[in-house]
């Protein structure tokens, strides 16, 4: 089995979000970029298939040179090789088109992307990718087993979960839950040394017309101070008469 894990390089979850250039650009000053959390879970699950079922494991990211440190981290965790598509990830459809090209050229049978990236929150790349490839697709996956070319997937639905069966080739939109928190791997020194020698191939993008464009950013309004109340009676009164939510 050939697995491709799609990695989005995102601001560390503790980042304060600010904008520059008259609110048209994300301010990367002082921001540390990390593997999108959902992608880190996917990568960890993919490592299991590599170690237990002999799968090959490639990671890919669409981005400029700055995403290479995130890809190196994925290599240090254990991916065999990495691909960087040398283009600014401007739009989910653009990214999906680039990834589709990578999948076609590499004949991957299992493609794992995250349910959403925590910066753009598009929730669109895995679905669009499956459409472009005409691969089967399951979203919001919290469990995956593969045997031969059959896949059994647990998918989160509103208020529960369902178990689905399908066959490879397959695109999965995966999320937290697909591995346990304790299974996440922190790269060790050996992994980091080995990662330096693993291939990180840079490929040029195909040309794609953008379908959307971010014009500007806004921050939520600064809220007024919290009202500290002394008793539950007072709280109930405020929720009923002032906030009108009960």
């Amino acid at each position: 089995m050939k697995i491709l894990v799609c990695i989005s390089s995102v601001p560390d979850t503790t980042s304060k979000i600010n904008f520059t250039d008259n609110n048209t650009k994300f301010d990367t000053d002082g921001i540390q970029f990390v593997i999108n959390p959902h992608d880190e879970y996917s990568l960890t699950r993919a490592m299991w298939f590599k170690e237990k079922q002999g799968a090959s494991l490639t990671v890919v990211s669409v981005g400029n040179q700055s995403v290479e440190s995130t890809l190196r981290k994925a290599l240090a965790i254990g991916a065999d090789d990495a691909i960087r598509v040398n283009a600014e990830a401007t739009d989910g459809y653009f990214v999906a088109q680039q990834l589709a090209e990578v999948v076609k050229n590499g004949n991957y049978d299992l493609v794992i992307a995250g349910r959403e990236s925590i910066d753009y929150n598009g929730g669109m790349v895995p679905g669009m990718l499956s459409s472009l490839l005409d691969y089967n697709f399951v979203n919001a996956v919290t469990g995956i087993e593969i045997s031969d070319n059959k896949a059994s997937l647990t998918r989160e639905i509103d208020g529960g979960k369902e178990v689905l069966e399908t066959v490879l080739p397959l695109v999965v939109g995966s999320q937290k839950g697909i591995v346990k928190e304790t299974e996440l791997r922190i790269p060790n020194m050996r992994g980091i040394m080995m990662a330096r020698k693993k291939p990180l191939n840079v490929v040029e993008p195909i040309s794609v017309e953008p379908t959307t464009e971010v014009k500007s950013f806004e921050k939520p309004e600064v809220k007024s101070a919290c009202k500290i109340v002394e008793s539950v009676d007072e709280l109930i009164d405020l929720l009923h008469n002032e906030a009108k939510v009960i």
């Binding site: 979850t13 679905g127 639905i157 208020g159 529960g160 959307t212 464009e213």
Partner: protein, 320 residues
């Protein structure tokens, strides 16, 4: 041209999110001086769609739709868009909505933006405001293509009645067989889920153990609320992953959010900030959640929550 809304029915009925996209579609149709068409399946209870402004209702009934393969549903919605010459397709952010929307966009070669929180900022160029950075910010995004798919964020727009006379049509386009089979389903039936909730009661590590969740359940019950938890609580196995809210969990955009024994780490706030009124109960007055909340009580949850449950029961008995 027209506007198409996909309204998901569940056991023949429509959830609030379906009526919210219908409300949104109607307002947008008015702005653009065009008609609203709603496509749905397996239901006859369409009066409520008329109440929220659906001029035309297409109902699918084909067996091919009895599948968990979202690509078949996407074919169905795309066929409706083509038939009705719809340039704008609106889909909610439920589990199934989020599953199908990008597929519809890819099939129609439409530009897609999810997490949209309001009517377009401008219709020419077509720019919408959407949540980004896990609700730490918004971005205004232009959709450049002729066809557009809008994913509407939950509980962001609201419900607006707009009664109209609807025409109702059976709509059964030719569909392929799905390639994904469901082998089992496990659904809580009688509880409010995070997806449908207006009110959420969330507990954190401050509650010390999963065994102490009884009072959270009691509070949720008296309020008709869904239960949620912080990430460590689900990682520790005190509560299921499906209850985890925050940046890496579910988004909680509700009218009233109770944070009990939750410190208010930036990753937690990222997913719950879009809630309108936040109430925090915490022993530590320095807990960061107090900065993000509208109301707070500094004190021990083990004393306050049972009292709150008792008083709320009395309040509910009086106010119905």
């Amino acid at each position: 041209m027209s506007i198409l809304v996909f309204a998901e029915s569940s056991e023949g009925k429509f959830k609030k999110v379906a009526l919210e996209v219908t409300s949104y579609g109607k307002k947008l149709a008015e702005t653009l001086q065009t008609n609203l068409v709603v496509v749905t399946a397996f239901t006859e209870n369409t009066e409520v769609l008329s109440k929220y402004g659906a001029e035309k209702i297409l109902i699918g009934n084909s067996d091919a739709l009895k599948t968990s393969d979202a690509s078949i549903w996407a074919d169905f919605i795309a066929a409706a868009a083509q038939k009705e010459n719809a340039d704008i397709i609106i889909i909610d952010a439920s589990a199934n909505g989020a599953f199908v929307a990008p597929l519809v966009a890819a099939k129609l070669q439409a530009g897609f933006t999810s997490n949209v929180v309001d009517l377009p900022v401008s219709t020419s160029p077509f720019i919408v405001k959407r949540n980004a950075f896990s609700t730490k910010a918004f971005n205004n995004t232009e959709i450049k293509t002729a066809k557009k798919v809008i994913g509407l964020a939950k509980n962001s727009f609201g419900l607006f009645e707009n009664p109209v006379q609807s025409t109702v049509e059976d709509f059964s386009p030719e569909l392929k067989a799905g390639k994904i089979k469901r082998t089992s389903i496990d659904k809580t039936t009688d509880e409010v889920t995070i997806a449908d909730a207006e009110i959420i009661v969330a507990g954190g590590r401050g509650l010390k153990s999963g065994d102490n969740w009884g009072m959270i359940e009691d509070l949720a019950e008296v309020l008709g609320a869904a239960k949620a938890c912080s990430k460590p609580v689900s990682d520790l196995g005190w509560r299921p992953h499906s209850e985890h809210v925050g940046q890496t969990g579910k988004q909680a955009a509700v009218n009233l959010y109770f944070a009990i024994g939750i410190s208010g780490a930036i990753q937690h706030l990222a997913g719950v900030n879009a809630s309108k009124v936040k109430v925090v109960i915490n022993t530590d007055e320095e807990a960061p959640f107090f900065k993000a909340a509208e109301y707070g009580i500094v004190g021990d949850a083990f004393e306050i929550v049972p009292k709150l449950v008792e008083k709320l029961k009395a309040f509910k008995a009086e106010n119905g």
